[in-house]
């Protein structure tokens, strides 16, 4: 995956900030048409073929912020203002979460090994003798790979003493754990909705930023402006994502216009307690193991790729849904907004009646920037209750630790740190051979939520 601070992530946050500024400013609606021009000036060096394409891509990114999905028959002939006027500003975007900006996609050619001009056509030719498919031939004194025969094993690359053979991946395809990226007739990639688990790894790996998330920011800002009674459900992974202490962050977020801030570390503790009871109950019923259920990308993986494992997944709701339930049961007219580092949470929220909007930390940061809220200016207050156990949910291994914390009996746990092709095979193998523990904690992102696709640092 790409590093966290690159030109694309900067542009993404700047665009969000400008868009939110536009939404708050009750001026001319046509101002939205100017955003691409404000961001990309003619004097600037273009990142693509020309500034005009750069601007057009900004337009598409803005449309994704409004919740648009770029289907094959998407009509791109309107202006930004026309789209803005046509958008239903009260409704959060539906599924799928991700959409591809076709014109931004660089249409990477199929992952392949390639012999560069560094090849000397040597005498020993280890590449030729080691190739299991006889795909290496010599043409005008240089090795050439026959792509019809090549199976991408990489033996030629490791054997070449000159480092003359390179591997060019398709970055999104490389990180997708479920093979959901399909090469679309050589023009751009497409995401298979039947396979996609909305983990968001592709969005963080595409160097062209061609895969984007459909945002809920439009209805959220509308609700904030209209001072709706709204509770912000804050994921435990917020720690370190913003400056200041937790109490300062909470005061600052209240000033954005939320009526209440609910720390999901609190409901996470309820979840951990319930999962520890559930685990003991299942063990007494003879089940060999149970897996956690709080990671929505993992739940999608189970649903779409390993349904055989369903009986072993905990029935306890995630901290987000548990928290949303608490708020809505108190007053069902209250709106609930989840803020976290996760894209798959949008799928979970879509299927739950307890969550209205989902926003990510980048959007939350841009909101604070736009309202010029300085977190460090708020006084620090001592926390009333200790949520250390619940805050652990943000880190790989933390959920298992929390469940152990509440369990009356000792628990052995296994942690699956990141969903990959390999770890999915491991999960499947548990059906035949039970894992070396009672509790299997699964996190789709390596390192846990705090390393999710929409984190700030």
């Amino acid at each position: 995956m790409l590093n966290l601070n690159n030109h694309y992530t900067y542009l993404k946050k700047e665009l969000l900030w400008r868009f939110i500024n536009f939404l708050y400013r009750d001026g001319k609606r046509s101002a939205i048409n100017r955003i691409p021009y404000e961001m990309i000036s003619t004097t600037e060096n273009s990142r693509r073929c020309c500034v005009y394409k750069d601007r057009e891509m900004i337009k598409f990114r803005l449309l994704a912020q409004m919740g648009y999905r770029f289907t094959d028959d998407f009509d791109e002939s309107y202006t930004l203002q026309e789209y803005y006027d046509r958008t239903d500003k009260t409704k959060a975007a539906d599924l799928p979460v991700l959409t591809v900006i076709k014109a931004a996609c660089s249409s990477c050619r199929k992952s392949q090994y390639h012999v560069t001009e560094l090849c000397k056509g040597c005498l020993a030719r280890p590449c030729q003798s080691l190739c299991p498919r006889d795909a290496m031939t010599m043409k005008s004194g240089r090795a050439v790979i026959d792509l019809d025969k090549c199976i991408n094993c990489g033996k030629c690359k490791t054997s070449c003493p000159y480092g003359a053979i390179v591997y060019t991946p398709v970055p999104c395809e490389e990180v997708c754990p479920v093979g959901a990226i399909e090469q679309n007739d050589g023009s751009s990639i497409a995401i298979s909705n039947e396979k996609c688990i909305s983990c968001g790894k592709c969005t963080r790996s595409c160097p062209f930023g061609a895969i984007v998330e459909r945002s809920h920011i439009l209805p959220l800002v509308k609700s904030l402006k209209e001072k709706d009674d709204m509770t912000l459900l804050l994921a435990p992974s917020i720690v370190n994502q913003l400056p200041g202490t937790m109490s300062q962050i909470k005061s600052a977020l209240s000033d954005l216009g939320f009526t209440a801030i609910y720390e999901l570390a609190e409901s996470a503790q309820i979840v951990a307690e319930s999962e520890s009871d559930e685990l003991l109950e299942r063990k007494s019923e003879g089940h060999s193991f149970m897996t956690t259920s709080c990671c929505p990308a993992y739940m999608e993986t189970i649903e779409k790729h390993i349904p055989e494992l369903k009986p072993f997944v905990s029935h306890t709701d995630s901290p987000m849904v548990t928290g949303g339930k608490i708020i809505k049961e108190e007053n069902r007219h209250k709106k609930t907004v989840f803020a976290g580092p996760c894209m798959a949470k949008k799928v979970e929220a879509f299927n739950s009646e307890y969550i209205d909007y989902v926003i990510n930390f980048e959007e939350l940061g841009a909101l604070l920037m736009s309202r010029e809220i300085e977190i460090n200016d708020y006084p620090h207050k001592e926390e009333e209750c200790d949520l250390t156990v619940g805050l652990g949910f943000a880190t790989s291994g933390g959920v298992a630790k929390a469940v152990e914390h509440y369990s009356s009996e000792p628990i052995r746990s296994v942690s699956i740190d990141g969903i990959t092709g390999k770890s999915m095979n491991l999960l499947r193998s548990f059906l035949k051979r039970a894992p070396g523990g009672d509790l299997v904690e699964v996190m789709a992102c390596e390192g846990g939520c705090e390393k999710g696709p929409c984190t700030l640092c």
Partner: protein, 91 residues
């Protein structure tokens, strides 16, 4: 020799736009430079209000303001300062 002071703004805007990661700048500079520089965080310097001329994150190196700062910009600046320091120092 006087240390080079790198002051990184930790105000909301600068933090969100990437200054938190700049605090770890020492991890990506040559080891022998590390004892010549001092990295500190600061409260909002109010320069980010107008993105036109000063984009966040904002970093202050020995009194000189760097806007839209990233690792590369800081490193380039440091190279200049350290070279200057070395030239000024008598053999």
């Amino acid at each position: 020799m006087k240390k080079i002071e790198i002051e990184i703004c930790m105000g909301t805007a600068c933090f969100v736009m990437g200054s938190a990661n700049l605090m770890r700048i020492k991890e990506s500079i040559p080891l022998e430079w590390c004892d010549q520089i001092e990295v500190t965080g600061s409260f909002c310097c109010n320069l980010c209000r107008n993105w036109k001329d000063s984009k966040p994150p904002i970093v202050n190196i020995n009194g000189e303001i760097i806007t839209g700062a990233d690792e590369t910009k800081i490193l380039l600046h440091l190279v200049g300062l350290i070279k200057e320091g070395n030239d000024a120092e008598p053999e």
